[in-house]
Symmetry: C2
Subunit: 259 residues, 2 copies
DNA sequence: CGTCCGATTGATGCGGGTCAAATTGGGTGG
DNA sequence: CCACCCAATTTGACCCGCATCAATCGGACG
């Protein structure tokens, strides 16, 4: 009944005629002209597989951790698929307060609907490999590939649902519930239903700005969960799920700490 | 730069081949079999204008204030256009905490993407007149009407942006900023850029659950704005905008109260 | 070994939640 | 038309969870 989809990530298109061939090696990149991406060896395929009528329509590029992909207010100019790494998307208030609206992981799309201005900023959380699709590519796909539009619509609707789930988290959950929900969503995304270890590629700052908390509260909450035996923290970026049952209780009823 | 789209409402499709003819009178309705809707006199057009290849594909129905249209978890079965009145959409936690994710006003669509289960509950805020579109109607439109899919995608993307804007509000704004932003968004929607009077069709409870606050805080905040001379409250459901300049400052920097 | 940045831990204060009571006003029946 | 009733709103008193401010820790890197 209560799906708890969470909101870590964006559209996963899963349309075989479009997008990067998974695991495809690559070499040259657009933009900065870097010849070699982070962690990836040189290889042979410079272009994404996306095609509209036989012509390749995506181009690979890289970003270093912390670099900006595009900024709130920029004129939108195409979409990106994350080939490797993670993006953060956020909106800011004039005085600097920031709300991260989502993290985009490998295989997911960001920046669809290329009309007008970007409604959020996109930055690299980790080193990134991306594939850019110009707006024209999407238009052609929508007009020419039956089923593509529906797939795109469905992916966007999934994003919308995730955003609404996150609204429930931000508006109505306590700090414990927020942190635990976040961990459980990550655990499910990273390893099916039960992953014993969860990676946190993003720092405490990002987690806080995603959950509507402060760094200190995130840190304290994790520490408390650790000393209660619910989780382990071998390193700050790695969480061990020790008592999944307890965590699932805490996710929707922080008061269950009594049990 | 900071669009402040807010999140009051859902997709506005604006596709001439689809949807209810604005202002069309009507008579018979599906469902409860009521012969006369709230406030609307009897007339002649029982069906919505939406067509796919010439066949009408939408059917009118009504709901009383407080009635449920569909519930979180229900199997999705078609979309609705609000012909008259207002809907609230919400998600709940097991213990009853509620987050309203949006209000749907006249002319807007809700429940697109008819796959699987409804991710939220939809209830009538006011008495309603609706037009229901079965899933098949959408599928036909997508396949047969060029441009329809893109319009639908664009509308959903607008909803997504509004949801993200609301995430910023829920996660990072103070009570004053939340309430003032809400009022300003309503003002813009109801009367272009500057409407002197704003209607609040929903109760304090709905406002609170939409802004991630309690009834008491919403009420207190409105009272404080009133006694500061920024707004007037002729009735609890009607707000007079008295100092738009001040309100716009408060919307993004609650501390501006000092000025 | 020293520096630096992110994470953790501690002390304190406040914004908004909670509980409780008073007030308002819209709708109904006399 | 008026009085009553009830639900929604407003107001008050108090408290708590989380933010804020500040200091310390710890691992990565040169």
């Amino acid at each position: 009944m209560f799906t708890q989809a969470g909101y870590v990530g964006k559209s996963k298109l899963d349309f075989p005629e479009f997008g990067v061939a998974r695991g495809t090696p690559w070499r040259s990149v657009e933009g900065t002209g870097r010849e070699q991406g982070p962690e990836l060896g040189a290889a042979s395929e410079p272009r994404c597989r996306g095609r509209a009528g036989g012509a390749a329509c995506g181009v690979l590029q890289t970003k270093r951790a912390g670099e900006m992909l595009f900024s709130q207010g920029d004129r939108a100019d195409g979409a990106y698929e994350v080939v490797r790494g993670m993006l953060r998307l956020y909106k800011m208030l004039p005085d600097g307060r920031r709300q991260i609206t989502g993290f985009v992981s490998t295989g997911e799309l960001v920046g669809v609907t290329p009309n007008g201005a970007r409604p959020y900023t996109a930055e690299a959380v980790t080193d990134l490999v991306l594939c850019r699709f110009p707006p024209a590519a999407f238009d052609r796909m929508i007009d020419e590939q039956p089923g593509f539009a529906r797939r795109l619509l469905s992916a966007t609707a999934d994003d919308l649902d995730a955003a609404q789930e996150q609204m429930l988290l931000l508006g109505r959950m306590t700090a414990v519930e927020k942190v635990v929900s976040f961990l459980l969503v990550l655990a499910k995304r990273q390893g099916g239903v039960l992953a014993r270890f969860v990676d946190l590629p993003m720092g405490r700052n990002d987690i806080a700005d995603y959950l509507g908390l402060t760094i200190e509260t995130v840190s304290r909450t994790l520490s408390r969960l650790k000393q209660a035996g619910s989780i382990g923290l071998p390193t700050p970026t790695r969480v061990e799920i020790r008592d999944i049952r307890r965590l699932e209780m805490l996710a929707h009823d922080g008061a269950a700490a009594a049990a």
